[in-house]
């Protein structure tokens, strides 16, 4: 569009959407007007607008040639026309430009390129690219999903299909999810939490946990300027949060986990972050990832109680990302759900604190990421807010039905006495103990390297060791316009074929550097991987000393 529209209409002068009327009714009946001139419409009915924001500049964009996925240097024609594009980088939604997602970002793109080169026969110092960047158990061929093929499987299948429209998984489900699956999820939660009641109506089945998390954030984020919603999130964090907050133009409020104390959460730090944030935004939510990603720490019960008290005192909506609840390995560590602890703290808290808890079929021992199954449980939300939530969810119609069916299996594993039980227990135990062993191995090997310090991996699927990067390397990175740990990881990829995600993608204290590595590869591969990492680090440190 060429001219910027200068005239601003105050939103108050527009007719507001009246309830129960279509947004598209036009006053004045009869046929549409013909032949130009002033149309017979008195006014269009639009949804109410909030106050105006400043208009972005409409400068013509310079051309850049970047093929999708490959971060090449840009060529720009200074000041020449944008070829008349309607959609340019100058008029596109600016918040989208802020979205980054390190787990799938430039380092992964480079890894894909290298894989292609390898397959074309190009020589590299390594025979294969090991993608230790994403928590995908299936990809690592590590966890075998038991697809039962006998009586109890049939009966489960029938029950699920009977709840599907037309008895087919190909039919849309209700946007909240299949009723019988939600009931099963509720029962699972009750069992998990030692009997604390769970209402199926508070359960929403989602497309992976991400769908639920992003939807809740959409619900929460409003206001502008000093009243813009602030959302507290741990540093380091899983970059879905930072990406979603950037896209929604929410204020991200960072609270630092304590690396020296095994990434524990400190209430004093929460308070500090909150008090500072109150000066420039309106903090409304507190996100916790437990067990942590990328850090793997498992919060103690006392800590969870403290967080709940804090949220209650400061009137914050709690978002508990608990997708790794089935992945707890360390001795002395135990998963406590926020819901359970909340209820055990008595009605003063259990009837007032608002909480959303998230789980997923992508993690746990089953690790079926490709199905995109997940759920969230909502506690103490007002009914009219729930209606709003349902509206939002209806936009994507429903979550994938196979994912919902899978969730049903996750929450309804074979019980003692059922034919599949033995096999199931055996598989699950061996998978989890293998993960525990790999967690220990990772910590052990990495801590033998000078310049790498690895906290114990208590849970989840990753290690997040801290690395010392020599000053020369930092300078080199700066010259290339890269974060030092990105520079380090890129080098590692080029030299060893190992793909990790730099700590800068997750957030870390200024001046510290980390990488995230999954502990999912089979043990023999993992040993090689760890060794290669060790050797690379030593070479790298040498090279830049």
């Amino acid at each position: 569009m060429s001219a910027t529209r200068v005239q601003l209409i105050s939103p108050r002068t527009l007719r507001l959407l009246s309830p129960g009327r279509s947004a598209l009714f036009l006053p004045g009946g009869g046929g549409p007007h013909r032949g130009g001139g002033v149309p017979g419409f008195r006014s269009l009915i639009f949804p109410s607008l909030s106050s105006s924001f400043s208009s972005p500049g409409r400068a013509l964009s310079s051309l850049s040639t970047t093929r999708r996925g490959l971060p090449k240097t840009k060529m720009s024609d200074n000041g020449t026309m944008s070829r008349g594009k309607v959609l340019t980088i100058d008029n596109m939604n600016p918040t989208v430009k802020k979205v980054e997602y390190a787990v799938r970002g430039p380092i992964v793109q480079r890894a894909v390129e290298l894989e292609k080169e390898l397959s074309e026969g190009r020589k590299k110092p390594f025979a294969e690219v090991i993608k230790a960047n994403i928590g995908d158990a299936q990809a690592m061929a590590q966890i075998v999903f038991l697809k039962y093929k006998n009586k109890d499987a049939k009966s489960r299948a029938c029950r699920i299909l009977n709840s599907c429209g037309g008895n087919s998984m190909g039919a849309y489900s209700a946007s909240q999810g299949i009723g019988s699956v939600r009931q099963d999820v509720a029962r699972y939660i009750e069992r998990r939490d030692g009997g604390v009641p769970c209402k199926p109506d508070n359960i929403y089945l989602t497309t992976g946990a991400s769908d639920g998390i992003v939807t809740m954030l959409k619900l929460l984020v409003c206001g502008e300027g000093a009243t813009r919603t602030g959302v507290m999130i741990s540093i380091p964090q899983y970059p879905l949060y930072s990406a979603a907050l950037a896209e929604l133009s929410a204020v991200q409020i960072n609270y630092y986990l304590n690396e020296e104390k095994c990434w524990s959460l400190d209430i004093g730090e929460l308070q500090r972050a909150l008090d500072e944030a109150r000066l420039h935004c309106n903090p409304r939510a507190l996100c916790i990832i437990n067990p942590g990603n990328p850090t793997g720490q498992v919060q103690s019960r006392e800590c969870i109680e403290d967080v709940i008290r804090f949220a209650a005192k400061e009137r914050l909506f709690l978002m508990a990302d608990e997708v790794y609840q089935d992945n707890v390995y360390a001795e002395g560590c135990q998963f406590h759900s926020f819901k359970k602890v909340l209820f055990e703290m008595g009605p003063e808290y259990s009837e007032t604190v608002e909480l959303a808890s998230f789980h997923s079929t992508s993690k746990c021992y089953m690790g079926e990421c490709g199905f995109r199954g997940g759920y969230m449980e909502i506690i103490n939300m007002d009914d009219d807010v729930k209606d709003q939530l349902t509206k939002l969810l209806s936009v994507r119609l429903c979550s994938p039905v196979p994912g919902q069916a899978l969730m049903d299996l996750v929450v309804n594993p074979p019980q003692p006495g059922e034919p599949s039980y033995e096999r199931f227990i055996k598989e699950r135990t061996s998978t989890l103990s293998a993960l525990a062993e790999k967690a220990r191995l990772t910590e052990q090997v990495l801590n033998t390297v000078e310049g790498i310090r690895c906290n114990p991996v208590q849970g989840a699927m990753y290690s997040f060791p801290r690395i010392t990067i020599p000053e020369k390397a930092i300078q080199e990175a700066k010259k290339l316009g890269q974060q030092p740990d990105m520079f380090y990881c890129m080098k590692m990829l080029e030299e060893t074929g190992i793909c990790l995600v730099p700590g800068s993608g997750f957030g870390q204290r200024e001046g510290t550097y980390h990488f995230r590595m999954t502990i999912l590869p089979p043990t023999d591969k993992l040993k090689i991987l760890l060794n290669n990492v060790k050797e690379f680090h030593q070479r790298f440190t040498q090279q830049y000393s």
Binding site: S22, A23, V86, A139, G166
Partner: protein
Amino acid sequence: MSVLQEISSNVRNIKQMEYFVLFRRTNQIKEELRQGVRKSYREVIDVSWGDPHRAGVKPLSFVRQVLAACLYPQLMDGDKLMVDVKQRAQRLLETCAGGSVGSYSDTAGIPQIIQSVSEYILRRDGGVPCHPENIYITPGSQWALTNILKVLVNSEASPRTGVLIPVPCHSTTIVSLTALGAVAVPYYLSEERGWALEVEMLQQALDSAKGVCNPVALYIINPGNPADYVQSRKCIQEVIHFAAEKKLFLLADEVYQDCVYGKESEFVSYKRALAEIGAPLSDTVELASFHTASKGLMGECGLRAGYVELVNLDPAVMKYIDNLFSNSCPVLGQVALDVMVNPPQPGDPSYPLYLKETQHIRASLAENVRRVEEVINSFPSFSCQSLEGGAFAFPRVFLPPKAIEKAKEAGLQPDTFYCMRLLEEAGLLFSPGTEYGQMEGTYHIRFCIMTPTDTMEEILKRLSTFHKQFMREFA
């Protein structure tokens, strides 16, 4: 008082769908029926969704066999499955990380499947080039549409971003726009002329937006939903010229492209029409085309698989679009998509059964179309444009003033009132025209016509009985 007392105004502004009130009552009625409460019907027939399986159409065997084999490869041992099923499953499993459909896929979709999709598009459009890197596979087409809208809609701009949408328009898109803080600018389709899209109406829509919002995009549904039209090539080209002239980004929702049954109708994709117009427009008009595995003969709505093809976008913008598509599409859905764009061919072992099943669905649909037009048009108080494409019938119902009064008293829109009564008394779940927008003072009802033929007969029988009674009551 809840922390969430204040929520995003964009979300608050989303109008509660009329559907919910019908949906709730439907669940109650189903419960009542289960408990043995006597009604004039034994079950509720739900044709309020564009969901063939829900309406009773069976899944295609080949699709389900391939899906089953991908899910549980052990099924391929022995001879239960045909060779081409096994080959397809094996080929697809090789494209999955770790050989499992349980792995995350690439963010844009499994590359080999994207390749299949691009070849399908190439064939469909008579050779117009198609670049795989412009295709993104998503959990359903609405997801893709929402992502593209996110890039177009500048929520910090003043005046707000506007998107032209047809009246009537299916409700999910309207909800998407509202949630993003965009303004929906309506353009009216001409019902008397078979829901034709006339360029003057587009111009009027633009005029109405002056000073109110900044329209940047034009959203088209072809074949239509809820209205059952298929746009002619000439119409599509006029629309493209208009979009080019007025600098609008074209959003072409073509999910029903495989549901065309009008005798004179032919689906032409916007991309093809654009290519046929030639330079300079074919090199400059920006277009996003959407398709899905949910509709057509496969009808696999629950698997959630759709895609968007982007044409002529600024490469700098594509880089950011890439970041948005970071949530991978369910792998099973992608498998279904692969089958959709690459079905069994003559000579393949599975072809005879595939042919039989698809012919049956097509014949049923043709029969349903014939019967719907016949029955609906036999009532003076109904009027139905000839059904050309899509999954629905969208007849206009002429409600007597007394019925409209009664509706007002009940606090319902007149067509919602009609649908409520239809539900209560006839056990039919339709959706009211109010949901989609319509000219003021007109009322419509929408119902899915992709059902088995005997289901459609039952629907028409119940509808006829109910309608006569309703009209008598409010005469």
